[in-house]
Amino acid sequence: MTKRQRQRLVRGALYAVFVLVVLVVSLVADWPRIQHSFFNLEIAAEMFPRVVTVAARNTLLYTFLAFTFGLGLGLLLALMRLSTIGPYRWFARIYIEIFRGLPALLTIFLVGFGLPIAFGVRWNILVYITLGLGLVSAAYMAETIRAGIEGVPKGQMEAARSLGMSYSRAMMSVVIPQGFRIVIPPLTNELVLLIKDTSLLFVLGTTATTMELLKYGRDLLNQRFNPTPLIVVGLVYLAITVPMTQLVGVLERRNQRAR
């Protein structure tokens, strides 16, 4: 047998295994039951439009709030991390280490239950949501943004300063806009992670009007004793996240070409 023939044989065998597995699984599987449990059209139909108008809407709202807050705080932390003033640098470092090192759920608990107990405050739930998710994502975004700012050639700052711009003006008008172009792909990844992390918010005791996608799906699962709602909710997540990860790919390729 030549090497080529042997290669073809191996490829053929691999295809055969694949087809065989698919055949066996589809023959053995209890299709009616699978359909009834996971793809129950009746239950799926009931979920509309609430799954979109309430659950998905809340997921997107919470993501937006946390992302905006996290981006602002992350930018601030990134600038502190690059500051020439020691205490700012240390604070940012410690903050970033702590919030990246803790489970997100612990932070959400701390904010959602710790703050009310400690200070006797009863804020709108949106505040807890924004803080709980935003404090964590700020830590991740700070590192991303810092890398972006450091990725801008030093000559850009020097050119801006040599024209008489102050450090902060040069940062605002010259360095940060270029840094952001570099970090748009990783920040979009951050956004996708955040979308998925909103599923942790159920611990805050979200209600019928404030529940996000996963909580909505879980409640229905319990009510109807059928997993179809989880599948529907999963598809809604994917409908949001897959276009975004695709977008990241496009942006990354474009950035690469721009270099």
């Binding site: 050639p153 000559g155 850009q156 050119a159 040599s162 024209l163 008489g164 102050s166």
Partner: protein, 251 residues
């Protein structure tokens, strides 16, 4: 301002006993150096001799370790000196152009005018157009830097510096990053500035340019000024062995 204690402004740039170290490495070891009003001074010397560092100290992109620098008689090494205001009066052109790649040519030229000089937008645009015309690139006003050749980028960078109406211009090897066929157009623009009477300090390896336009050539080596004088003397009849050796290598 510290004008009260400053000497009369007999020089555009005056450097006194300037020292600069990076850590343990002393790069400038006591430089005394002047540029008169309307004078064109070319600084030459081997790589690593401290030419860029000297130039960058003049607008305090580098902090001098010790010594004094006077710009128009004002001591800019004084702790109270307004460095931003100072820099807006000194144009600087870099070897690597350093145009702002996210902004159009027009915005490159108007940004600092608006943000630093607080010029109203119409005036800033007016000034930008005038300076683009000076460097012969009026048709590139809406282009982005990435779409320009190296020579064009450097001419835009010169126009950007000129848009601040500087009293003097510093050039750090403005043609070293260019393909040979693009060097001429940049030197052309610089020659025009010389003719207009601009005060210029030019670090360069273009000996032909130095011979042609410089009022004075300064040869640096090892962090000191080895010798200076009119170009015909320094380039044709140098007094120091180090200068001779350097010129033999580059000519």
């Amino acid at each position: 301002m510290t004008t009260a204690s400053a000497p009369p402004a007999t020089h555009a740039i005056e450097v006194r006993d300037l020292h600069k170290s990076f850590g343990d490495l002393e790069v400038l070891s006591g430089i005394d150096f002047t540029v008169g009003h309307g004078e064109v001074v070319c600084v030459i010397g081997p790589s690593g001799s401290g030419k860029s560092t000297l130039l960058r100290c003049v607008n305090r992109l580098e902090e001098p370790t010790s010594g004094q620098i006077f710009i128009e008689g004002e001591d800019i090494t004084h702790p109270d000196a307004d460095v931003d205001a100072l820099r807006s009066r000194i144009g600087m052109v870099f070897q690597s152009f350093n145009l702002f790649p996210h902004l159009s040519v027009l915005r490159n030229l108007t940004l600092a005018q608006k943000r630093v000089k607080k010029r109203p937008k119409p005036e800033a645009i007016e000034v930008a157009k005038r300076n683009l015309d000076r460097v012969g690139l009026s048709d590139k006003i809406d282009a982005f830097p990435a779409h320009l050749s190296g020579g064009q980028q450097q001419r835009v960078a010169i126009a950007r510096a000129l848009s601040m109406d500087p009293d003097m211009m510093l050039f750090d090897e403005p043609t070293s990053a260019l393909d040979p066929e693009l060097v001429g157009e940049v030197l052309e623009v610089m020659r025009k500035l010389v003719d207009e009477g601009m005060t210029m300090m030019v670090v360069t390896h273009e000996m032909g340019f130095a011979r042609e336009v410089a009022d004075r050539v300064v040869f640096m080596d090892g962090g000191v000024v080895v010798e200076e004088g009119p170009p015909e003397q320094i380039l044709a009849d140098p007094q120091h062995e180090r200068t001779r050796r350097f010129l033999q290598m580059v000519l």
